[in-house]
Subunit: 217 residues, 2 copies
DNA sequence: TAGATTGTTAATCGATTAACAATC
DNA sequence: TAGATTGTTAATCGATTAACAATC
């Protein structure tokens, strides 16, 4: 399997994509510990993954080959991950719904490390409008369309109660948003060309409680 | 493939397990709309899934067979989902780290619908200790072990900064916690018999931004 | 009845794992 | 050199999809 062929394939599996941030976090840790090289074997062991799987993943992400007997240069590998995951070109986003969860997300500065920059927030409740949360202004929802179009933003985050989620979603799409990160526990109906990623805590919990039940039984 | 065989297989795929809450949310919506029966075909269409896949999933979850020409009785199906996902037997949990995210989770009452009941929280910062958040007491971290053992709790939620996450994790395991829901963006090292579910927002974001990039390109 | 929808058995597809030669 | 670790090619495994008979 050569590199050029692989790069043509843009349909990388979700399972693999979900593993990448785990590798990335791991590598950053090792970097802080002043490690300079890392082998895929070691990574697999620590992360409890199959070593062949890790090698395959690294081969896809890494721009340079690893050295037999040694492994990969840590700094280079981290760079490769950042490039691959798009953490280098920061994406602007807007957030709708400045409740508890919305405020938490707005307050979290770590997103920038992952290539996300929330530029503004929207809500309809008088008591939060025109306030700043972590230096980000909260606008009335009516201003959304205008601002999104003007700044050419294509990523929207929904943290409103589920009752309003679909309306907000529709408004976002109308305004030119192309991808939606949905924290409302509801199924959003969208046209085919819109990407939705559900941040479904219930799903996580289902996985966990199911495993737990199996273990205890 | 008959039902008895299926029930023996307790190793249900994660992918399938992640779809179940989507079905469940969808069914609850339809229930609110006073629908009485639902066909797998309709579900597949609305949720943009392959109809055969939906039929398979439903066959596994549902206790009664669907009726050709009609579909499934909505109420029964919802019950089946709740039983299957374990939302009926609520699990007690404790949470460590009463920062923004921790407070958000403590304040969210919806977890009970999903079978999770947070009974207490822990932190080491004086200003939050002995306060109540959404009627849940915040205790000093030293009390964790005792309380977890006494109440026989086996689910722990970690919402501390990543620097302390491993320590908290170790303490939890020492105290008898069997499953950990980890919100810290760090890889936790745990013994084999402990289940960890990472709630990795970076991973979600990776998936989303990757899809977005592909779309825009 | 006719036809929609079901559940089952078989085929396909893709991801993971195994085996192994290459190399520092 | 010897041996660990790499990248590649082939085999396996499991999940998804297709085909179809059963049934209300």
């Amino acid at each position: 399997m050569n590199k050029d062929q692989l790069l043509d394939i843009d349909d990388i599996s979700t399972a693999m994509l979900m593993r990448l941030p785990r590798y990335y976090n791991y590598l950053k840790e090792k970097n802080e510990e002043k490690m300079e090289v890392i082998s895929s074997t070691k990574m697999a062991e620590d992360l409890k993954l199959n070593p062949i799987l890790v090698r395959k993943d690294l081969a896809l992400v890494s721009s340079t080959a690893g050295k037999p007997r040694v492994g990969f240069v840590l700094d280079e590998l981290i760079d490769d991950f950042e490039t691959f995951l798009g953490y280098n070109n920061v994406d602007d986003a807007i957030l709708v719904g400045v409740g508890r969860l919305g405020t938490t997300l707005l307050s979290y500065d770590g997103f920038k490390d992952y290539g996300l920059n929330i530029v503004a927030a929207f809500d309809e409740r008088e008591d939060v409008i025109h306030q700043k949360v972590n230096d980000k202004m909260v606008f009335p929802i009516e201003k959304l369309s205008n601002l999104v179009k003007r700044l050419n933003i294509h990523l929207g985050i929904i943290t409103v109660p589920k009752q309003c989620a679909q309306d907000v979603c529709d408004l976002m799409i109308q305004s030119g948003i192309k991808a939606i990160w949905n924290f409302a526990p509801i199924h959003l109906v969208v046209p085919d060309h819109i990407v939705v990623k559900d941040e479904n805590m219930a799903a996580s919990l289902a996985v966990l409680s199911r495993k737990l039940a199996k273990m205890i039984k």
